[in-house]
Symmetry: C2
C-alpha cells in the first residue's frame, strides 16, 4: 500500500520537481497538486491524502492558515511544511496549526522523500536548525521574561505567589510580613513593570 501525497506550492518549477521526483518511487502516489491554499482547501477534504507537502508563502491564503482549516475537516492528514521561512514565529505558528514536519527549501529531493516516509511512520522530520529552534522553544516555555530582571529577589518571590492566585493576606502569612508590606512590594512591582494590576503583571513577567 503506497503513501498518498498532495502538494501545495505556487512555484511551478518546485511543484513539478517535487511531483515528478516523488512519483518515481512506488512507495508514493501523488493524488493532488495545488497552486493555492484556496484550491487545496476545497479539494483536500475529499481526497484525504496521507501527507500534504505545504508551502507557506502562497498567493492569497497562506499555507499555515490552509493547514488550520484542512486539519479541521480531515484530522487524519499529516502536514509537512516546505518553506524558506526559518524564523521562530513561522515555525511556531506552523506547529500550532498542526504541521508535524518542517523542511527548508534547500533540502535535497532524496532527503525530502526520506522525511515524508519518516513523517508517515509517526516521526517529525525537520531540518537541523529548525529542530534546534523547536527544542529551544520548549526549553523556554513558561520561563520568566527579561522583565523579571528589574525586580528584586523579594519582589520576584512575591510575584510568584501572586501568580498562583494567593490573596495579599495569604502571601503575608506565608512570608511572615504584614499585608501592608505585601501591598507596597506589589505596588513597586507594578511600577517597575508599568502595569496596573495583578493579571497584567503576571502576563508581562511570564510571557503571556
Amino acid at each position: 500500500m503506497s503513501i498518498s501525497i498532495a502538494i501545495v506550492e505556487d512555484l511551478e518549477a518546485v511543484r513539478n520537481g517535487l511531483k515528478d521526483f516523488i512519483s518515481l518511487s512506488t512507495d508514493f502516489l501523488v493524488v493532488g497538486v495545488f497552486k493555492t491554499g484556496e484550491e487545496a482547501l476545497a479539494e483536500l477534504p475529499h481526497i484525504t491524502p496521507d501527507i500534504v507537502i505545504m508551502d507557506i508563502n502562497l498567493p492569497g491564503m497562506n499555507g499555515i492558515e490552509c493547514i488550520r482549516r484542512v486539519k479541521d475537516k480531515s484530522p487524519g492528514t499529516q502536514f509537512m511544511m516546505f518553506t524558506v521561512y526559518e524564523n521562530d514565529e513561522k515555525v511556531f505558528e506552523a506547529l500550532k496549526a498542526g504541521a508535524s514536519g518542517y523542511l527548508l527549501k534547500n533540502t535535497g529531493l532524496l532527503e525530502i522523500v526520506e522525511s515524508v516516509k519518516e513523517l508517515h511512520e509517526g516521526g517529525s522530520p525537520m531540518s537541523a536548525n529548525i529542530a534546534r529552534k523547536i527544542v529551544n522553544l520548549v526549553r523556554d516555555t513558561g520561563k520568566e521574561t527579561a522583565f523579571m530582571d528589574v525586580l528584586s529577589p523579594r519582589e520576584k518571590e512575591i510575584l510568584k505567589l501572586l501568580a498562583k492566585g494567593l490573596l495579599y493576606k495569604e502571601i503575608s502569612h506565608q512570608l511572615q510580613i504584614t499585608t501592608g508590606t505585601v501591598r507596597i512590594h506589589i505596588h513597586k512591582i507594578y511600577e517597575k513593570l508599568h502595569v496596573q494590576n495583578r493579571t497584567e503583571a503576571i502576563n508581562k513577567a511570564f510571557g503571556k
Copy 2:
C-alpha cells in the same frame, strides 16, 4: 580540529561500546568517561567537552539533574540525552534542563555518531518518535484545558478577556453589556471552575 566528547553512563558494556566506537573516528576525541552524575559534575566543568552523551537513569544523581548543574558552570557544552525513557515528562524535563539532542538507546552506533556531528553543527537530532512528542508539546502550549469545556461560549469569551487583565468595565464596554452582567458571568465561571478569583480561574483554564 576534532570534537571532544564525554560519556556519562553507568552500564559498563554500553559505556565502553560507545567510547570504543566513537574513538574509531578521527572526527572525535573522547575526553572523559563517567559512571555517575556526581563524578561527571566534578570533572566536566574542568574538561569542558564540546558534547556530553548523557544517560538519564544513573545511580545517585540522575542525568537530567546532572545536566542542570553542569550547564550552569559550562554553558558552552552541549548535551545529548541517551536513554530508554520516552515518556513526555522525561523528554520535557531533559529539554528544560538544557539537553539539545535526545536519542533512545535502541539507536544504532552509526546513527549516534551522525547525530553527535549534527548536534555539534547546531542541530537537534532526536529519535523519530521523540521528535513527534516534542512537536506535540509545542502544539499544545498555551492551549485551553478541559476545564474550559464546562463553560458556555459567552463565558469563555469573557474569561479570555479576563485573562488579558481587563477591568470589568472594560469587558462590559467591549461586549456592550453592563458591568453587572459581567460580574454575574464571572461569578458563574468561578463556580464552574471551583475557584475564588481571576488568577485561579486563568491558571485552571489555561494550564498554569
